[in-house]
């Protein structure tokens, strides 16, 4: 397949295929990163990159943020890939999930209940949106997108009416507080003792949750019947329908999972960062860029895209705070210039 699509791939790099070349580049990058993380830095490197602590923290923050972005964007990319529905209300789903998580956690005192509520309520909201709104406009992707914009405006305004403009913080349970000491030496004291890096336990848990959910999603997509249908639908929706599958049930499932994940990410992200109006736009931007960079309908692409954007954002924040967003721009433009369908996207 890749042979037919891109004949230049096998011819260009003489001897090794493009895929192998990329693999080598990836290995080299991984080795450099591993050295940067675990080695004790020489002074000249500290001079360039401020300090090892700042650098490693930026990387870790970037990766955990990528976990959040992945949770939000994976639903967005599946919905877009399968239904060709650019759901611009996806950021609103994130924010609504965060508010619901806040309310439930605050009233019951159980954080896990808040997380569950964020997922469940938003999954229902997603199904309602798909069945009562988007299904009526099926096949007209521009109108679906316009409607999702309308929904996002109304939703943002109503959330502002209910929760006002204040900033909320969802309180995490005690067993998630505290910090983790990582086997990463940031500096060596004059008496020879090593200073290890500490990192908030909660963020590590968020990252772990994102990875687990990513793996579960991947397994669901590749090992189950529903997943097979979803992948078939991403490739050719008409053919899936023609082979007797109830596509509307599949659409509803994908919307439930996608919206539910956005709500889940809302609660989890609202506990790590904060809940405030405007967050919806931030996560919508992240989802858009992740899908543009990663390619539509691909969970792996969403993971790669989220990692790139999360790292770019946090590294930008530390090293050039007033030009940080330019990195995101550059990543998007370069991807569109070199591979318009996204890193893992299939050529159409």
């Amino acid at each position: 397949m890749s042979l037919l699509d891109r004949p230049s791939q096998t011819l260009s790099s003489g001897g090794i295929t493009g895929r192998q070349a990329w693999g080598l580049v990836g290995l080299l990058a991984a080795a450099i990163v591993a050295w940067l993380v675990f080695a004790v830095w020489p002074d000249w490197l500290n001079a360039i990159l401020i300090s090892k602590k700042a650098f490693v923290s930026a990387i870790l923050n970037g990766i955990t943020l990528a976990g959040l972005y992945f949770l939000v964007a994976s639903g967005f990319t599946l919905i877009f890939g399968l239904m060709r529905n650019v759901n611009l209300a996806h950021g609103s789903l994130y924010l609504l999930g965060a508010y619901i998580g806040y309310e439930v956690t605050n009233r019951t005192g159980y954080w896990l209940l808040g997380v569950a509520a964020g997922f469940a309520v938003l999954a229902v909201v997603g199904v309602v949106m798909q069945v009562f709104v988007f299904r009526r406009l099926e096949g007209d992707d521009l109108r679906q997108t316009l409607v999702s914009i309308g929904i996002s405006i109304v939703a943002a305004d109503l959330m502002l009416a209910v929760w006002a403009g204040g900033t909320y913080q969802i309180t995490t349970p005690e067993w998630l507080d505290g910090a983790l000491t990582l086997p990463v030496i940031t500096a060596v004291r004059s008496n020879g003792a090593s200073v290890f890096l500490t990192y908030p336990l909660y963020r590590v848990v968020v990252l772990a949750a994102a990875i687990v959910i990513g793996v579960v999603l991947w397994l669901m997509l590749h090992k189950t019947r529903v997943g097979m249908m979803i992948r078939a639908g991403v490739d050719d929706r008409a053919m899936l329908q023609a082979s007797g599958v109830n596509v509307h049930a599949v659409f509803a499932i994908v919307f439930a999972v996608g919206a539910g994940l956005a709500g889940f990410a809302g609660v989890v992200g609202g506990s790590a960062l904060s809940v405030a109006p405007g967050e919806d736009v931030r996560y919508l931007l992240a989802s858009l860029v992740v899908v543009i960079v990663g390619g539509m309908g691909s969970i792996t692409g969403a993971a790669i895209g989220a990692l790139l954007i999360g790292l770019a954002e946090q590294i930008g924040l530390v090293y050039f705070p007033t030009y940080g967003i330019v990195l995101t721009f550059v990543i998007m433009v370069v991807t569109l210039a070199v591979r318009p369908q996204g890193i893992m996207g299939k050529a159409r």
Partner: protein
Amino acid sequence: MSLAIATDGTTQRNWLEKLGAGHVILGVALVLYPLVASDFFLTQIGGYSLIFGMLGLSLMLLAGYGGMVSLAQITVAGISAYAIAILGNNNSNILGFGWPWWLAVPFAVLAAAVASALIGWISVRTEGIYTIMITLAIATATYYFAQQNYAIFNGHSGYAGIRAPAFWGIGWRDAKPFYYLCLGLAVLSYAAVLYGSRSTFGMTLQAIRDNPRRMRALGYHVTAHKVFAWLLSGVIAGLAGVLLVWFNGRVSPGTIGVDAAIDVLIIAVIGGLRHPIGPFLGALVVVLMQTFAIDIVGAERFNTLIGMVFLIIVFVSPDGILGLWGRIKPHLAQESLRPGP
């Protein structure tokens, strides 16, 4: 049959028929409007509607004729607005080269047009609905960039104290001159778009919208035509940006925020994307609603109101107010002006 009418009619028609009776009546009404309107109605309603109508028009040109729905029109306008603030005078004590208006304005519009062409060049790499995603991402990222950068955009507060020029003994930000300035530029853009849509370029663009593969096979440079459409739309949006910054006297990240980007789309969709008059209609409706919503839902919940109206329009009449009008007057429903898929 229809072909014959189109070819021999053009040479024989007199200027009134050529212009259309509707245009003449509308034009006279707009010119005489200041005689009856108060200053508030002249600038806050009249001028403001014309400015946002121009922004909507720049979107209509892309979406209606090119099939490319952009959410970055306010970003393009914002670039020219920021350029006016940076090249001309502002009282924020940052940059402000003090260029005279007749030098700053062309440069600002040029900057906007080039930026628009770049955005177009990036987004025509993909097709269809991707454009809306890419332009929204660009608009949002630019908004965040303007907010975080102090060296160029002066961060959160932006630039204030930007004055419209005064020459020929007229202060162009006074109610009547400003209204006529907006009207003049709006009519110019409107006429240019209407004329352009019937030109060879306009016809080619519409053909590309309808079937890019066939046009490519016929030897047309599809990308170049699309990017050129973006450039033209950037000129209109840039002019609107100049008027906007003179109108407000200031420009800040809020001016080019996501809300504003979506407002432009709402205006164009509510008005209708089939004919250049649509965005102006939409702008008038939205500005009137914005001004008088306090009496209906209170100032706080304006966005809910406008969002609902937008949703109803998208559901009931995808072609906006013009579409409703078109149902009453079927001869307005020209197949060639339908928005692309």
